[in-house]
C-alpha cells in the first residue's frame, strides 16, 4: 500500500510538471511572435514590452523562460497587466472562498440528488416515474448554465425577490447570508450534473442488478433494501467516483466560469473570465495552473478512493 501511495504521489508531481510545461508551451511558445507583446497587452508602450522581455527571460533560452515563469507563479510575482501591480496569486486567493463554497455546496447537492434520481429511475425502470425522470434529466443536461442561471436570477431574484441577486457573502461574515446567496448558484450548477449522473447511475444499477452476485444475495434471503444498497448500489457507485472526482476538481479549480459570472460571485472562475476578456496573459496562465493542479490532484485522490472501493485493483 505504501509503495502504491508513494508511486502515485511521485506520479502526481511528474504530471504536474508536465502540465505546467504544456501550459508554458501553449501560452508562451506555440502562438509564435513575441510573447512579450502579448503579455504586455493592448495599451503597452515600448518600454513596457522591453521590461517584460527582460523580466520573463524572453531574450534567453526556453528553459530559462520556463524556469522564470514557474518562479513567478510559485513566488506570487505574476502580475496583471491591466491593473499594474496587482498580483495574480492574491487575486486567485481572494476568489478561492467563493469558488470553494460554490463547488462544495453544488457538489453535495448534485451527488445527493443524482443518487436519488438514479436509484428511483432504475428501480422503476420503464414505468412512469422513470420516463418522467429521463425527460427531466435530458432537459437538465440540455439547458445551458448561462441561460438557466440568468432565468433563475431574473425570475427568482429580480422579478420576485425571493433570493438575493447574485454576489458572494463570506461565510465568516454572515453564514446565513452566505447560504442564502449561494442557494441559486448551487442548484443552477448542480442541474446539469444531476441529469448526467442520474442517467449514468441508472444504467450502472440496471447492469449491476443482473449480476450473479446480486442473485446470490437474494438467494440468501437478504432483505431487498439491503440487497439494493449493499450489493447493487455499492458496486454501481464505483464508476461514479471517477466522474465526480474530476467534475468536482474542475469546479474547485475555477471551472464553473459561467455560473460564477452569471451570479457575480467573484470566484476564481470569474477572475478567469475577466482575464480572458482583457486578454491578460499572466492571470490566464495563473488560473490555468491553479485549475490543472486540482484536476491532477483529484485524479490521484480518485485512484486512492477507487482502490479502497474495489479490492480487485487494490495493491497487495
Amino acid at each position: 500500500m505504501l509503495v502504491f501511495l508513494v508511486r502515485r504521489l511521485v506520479g502526481m508531481v511528474l504530471v504536474l510538471i508536465a502540465v505546467s510545461f504544456i501550459v508554458f508551451l501553449i501560452f508562451v511558445i506555440v502562438p509564435g511572435g513575441d510573447p512579450a507583446i502579448r503579455i504586455a497587452g493592448r495599451t503597452a508602450n515600448d518600454q513596457n514590452i522591453k521590461n517584460i522581455r527582460h523580466d520573463w527571460g524572453f531574450d534567453r533560452p526556453f528553459y530559462v523562460q520556463y524556469y522564470e515563469l514557474m518562479k513567478k507563479a510559485f513566488t506570487n510575482r505574476l502580475f496583471e497587466q491591466t491593473h499594474q501591480g496587482v498580483k495574480v496569486g492574491d487575486q486567485i486567493k481572494q476568489g478561492v472562498p467563493a469558488t470553494f463554497s460554490l463547488a462544495i455546496g453544488a457538489a453535495t447537492i448534485w451527488l445527493f440528488f443524482s443518487i436519488l434520481v438514479g436509484v428511483i429511475s432504475a428501480i422503476t425502470a420503464g414505468r412512469l416515474s422513470d420516463r418522467l425522470i429521463t425527460i427531466l434529466a435530458l432537459v437538465g443536461i440540455s439547458m445551458p448554465v448561462f441561460w438557466l442561471g440568468l432565468l433563475a436570477r431574473y425570475f427568482l431574484a429580480e422579478k420576485n425577490t425571493i433570493f438575493p441577486d447574485g454576489e458572494y457573502v463570506p461565510f465568516t461574515q454572515n453564514p446565513a447570508q452566505w447560504f442564502f446567496h449561494l442557494l441559486l448558484p448551487w442548484f443552477v450548477l448542480a442541474v446539469l450534473f444531476i441529469g448526467f449522473y442520474g442517467r449514468v447511475l441508472r444504467g450502472n444499477i440496471l447492469d449491476t442488478i443482473n449480476e450473479d452476485y446480486v442473485r446470490t444475495a437474494r438467494a440468501k434471503g437478504v432483505d431487498p433494501r439491503r440487497v439494493l444498497i449493499k450489493h447493487v448500489l455499492r458496486n454501481s457507485l464505483i464508476p461514479i467516483v471517477t466522474l465526480f472526482g474530476l467534475d468536482f476538481a474542475g469546479v474547485l479549480g475555477g471551472g464553473a466560469i459561467l455560473t460564477e459570472t452569471v451570479f457575480d460571485l467573484h470566484g476564481v472562475g470569474q477572475y478567469a473570465q475577466q482575464s480572458i476578456r482583457n486578454f491578460d496573459l499572466p492571470p490566464i496562465i495563473g488560473v490555468t495552473l491553479f485549475g490543472a493542479f486540482f484536476i491532477v490532484f483529484f485524479s490521484t485522490v480518485v485512484d486512492f478512493v477507487y482502490a479502497y472501493l474495489d479490492p480487485r485493483i487494490r495493491p497487495t
Binding site: 452476485y213 446470490t216 438467494a219 434471503g221 431487498p224 458496486n235 472501493l309 480487485r312
Partner: protein, 341 residues
C-alpha cells in the same frame, strides 16, 4: 419411509415477453425425500434452472406467471408472499449457482458474505457469525480458513470460490440444497471434488440435494433419482438405476449416447442429438422431442402423458409412445451407435 420434504406438483412457469409467452416450465412434478439426491438433467433451455430458481421464488417478477404447487413441509411456497418466502430462502432452501467467478460480490470479503447469510436468518453477533464462517470454510476444505476468511473473492481460485459458495449455502443448515450446474464452470478435476464434497456434506448436514446438470456423468455417482427434462417438461423420471440401465425415452438415449465411454470401442465420431431444442414460445404439437427424434411415428403428434409404462416399482415414468419392447430394440442402436449394431 423417509420424510417427504418437497413435493412439486404440475408446476408451470410462463414468462410474457415481447415475442410471446415463453413456456419455460410446463407441468413439472417431482418429489424429494430427506437425505436423497435428485438429479435434474437436460440441455440448455430445458427449464431446469428456471424450475430450481422458482423453488426459491427467484423467478418472480411482473412478467412471470406461475401455476401448480411447491409443497415444502406441507406449505405451498408458490402462495407465500415475498416477505414470507424470504424466511425460507437461504435458510431452509439454499442454492449454489453455476458460475462461482461471478456469484460472489467482488467488493466484500468471503467471510463477510458467509456471515451475511448467517446473520440474515439468525440473530447472532458478528464475532459468532465470523467464527461460524471459518468453521464452514474448513468443512468445505479451504486450507487455512482463519486467514482465508478475510480474503476477497478474487484471491480465491474458481474451485475455492465454489467451495465458498457451498459454505455460504450450508451456513444455515438448509434442508434442501439446490445446486444449479455447480461444476460446469470448473476444471474436470475440480468437478469431481465438488460433487464429492456436496455428497459428503449432504450427509453431514442431513440435507437433500437437487443437482441440476446437463451432464449425466455428473449425477451418475451421487443421484438417487433422476429427472430428465426437455422443453420445460420431465420426459423421464425414475431411480438412477432405472434411468441409466433401462432408459425409456429417446432423448435420454441421446444424452447417454453422447457421453464419451472408455469401456467401449472408440466410435468414429462422438454421438450427438441432431438439431436444437425447440423455441419455448412455439412448441411443436404432441411430443416436444418429435422433430429431433429418429424414431418418431404418427402417434407422436399426440401429447404423451408421463406414465409408468414399464410397470416398474418404484415407478419409472416416461413420455414416449413407443412400446417397451420397441424401445428395448431401438435404444441399443441409439446409445451405442453402429458399433453395437
Amino acid at each position: 419411509m423417509a420424510e417427504k420434504l418437497l413435493e412439486v406438483d404440475d408446476l408451470h412457469v410462463h414468462f410474457t415477453t415481447e415475442d410471446g409467452v415463453v413456456r419455460a416450465v410446463d407441468g413439472v412434478s417431482f418429489e424429494l425425500e430427506r437425505g436423497k439426491v435428485l438429479g435434474i438433467v437436460g440441455e440448455s433451455g430445458s427449464g431446469k434452472s428456471v424450475t430450481a430458481m422458482t423453488l426459491l421464488g427467484l423467478t418472480r417478477g411482473v412478467n412471470a406467471k406461475f401455476d401448480g404447487s411447491i409443497e415444502y413441509k406441507g406449505q405451498d411456497l408458490l402462495k407465500l408472499s415475498e416477505t414470507e418466502l424470504r424466511r425460507f430462502r437461504g435458510n431452509e432452501l439454499a442454492m449454489i449457482f453455476q458460475d462461482p467467478m461471478t456469484s460472489l460480490n467482488p467488493v466484500y470479503r468471503v467471510g463477510a458474505q458467509i456471515s451475511e447469510a448467517i446473520r440474515t436468518h439468525e440473530d447472532v453477533d458478528k464475532r459468532t457469525a465470523r467464527n461460524r464462517a471459518v468453521q464452514l470454510l474448513r468443512q468445505v476444505g479451504i486450507p487455512h480458513p482463519e486467514e482465508r476468511v478475510d480474503d476477497f473473492p478474487h484471491q480465491f481460485s474458481g474451485g475455492m470460490r465454489q467451495r465458498a459458495m457451498i459454505a455460504m449455502a450450508l451456513a444455515n443448515n438448509p434442508d434442501v440444497l439446490i445446486a444449479d450446474e455447480p461444476t460446469t464452470a470448473l476444471d474436470v478435476t475440480i468437478q469431481a471434488q465438488i460433487i464429492e464434497l456436496i455428497g459428503r456434506l449432504k450427509n453431514d448436514f442431513n440435507s437433500s440435494v437437487i443437482l441440476i446438470t446437463h451432464d449425466l456423468g455428473v449425477v451418475a455417482d451421487i443421484a438417487d433419482d433422476i429427472a430428465v427434462m426437455y422443453a420445460g417438461r420431465i420426459v423421464e423420471y425414475g431411480a438412477k438405476r432405472q434411468v441409466f440401465y433401462d432408459p425409456q425415452h429417446p432423448y435420454t438415449w441421446g444424452l447417454l449416447g453422447s457421453i464419451p465411454r472408455l469401456d467401449r470401442a472408440k466410435p468414429e465420431k462422438l454421438a450427438s442429438i441432431a438439431g436444437a431444442p425447440p423455441s419455448l414460445i412455439n412448441l411443436p404439437q404432441g411430443c416436444k422431442f418429435r422433430p429431433r427424434c429418429p424414431h418418431a411415428f404418427s402417434k407422436c403428434t399426440e401429447h404423451p402423458p408421463l406414465q409408468n409404462r414399464v410397470g416398474d416399482s418404484p415407478p419409472h415414468l416416461d413420455r414416449c409412445w413407443l412400446t417397451v419392447e420397441e424401445k428395448r430394440d431401438l435404444r441399443e442402436l441409439t446409445i451405442h451407435g453402429e458399433a453395437a449394431a
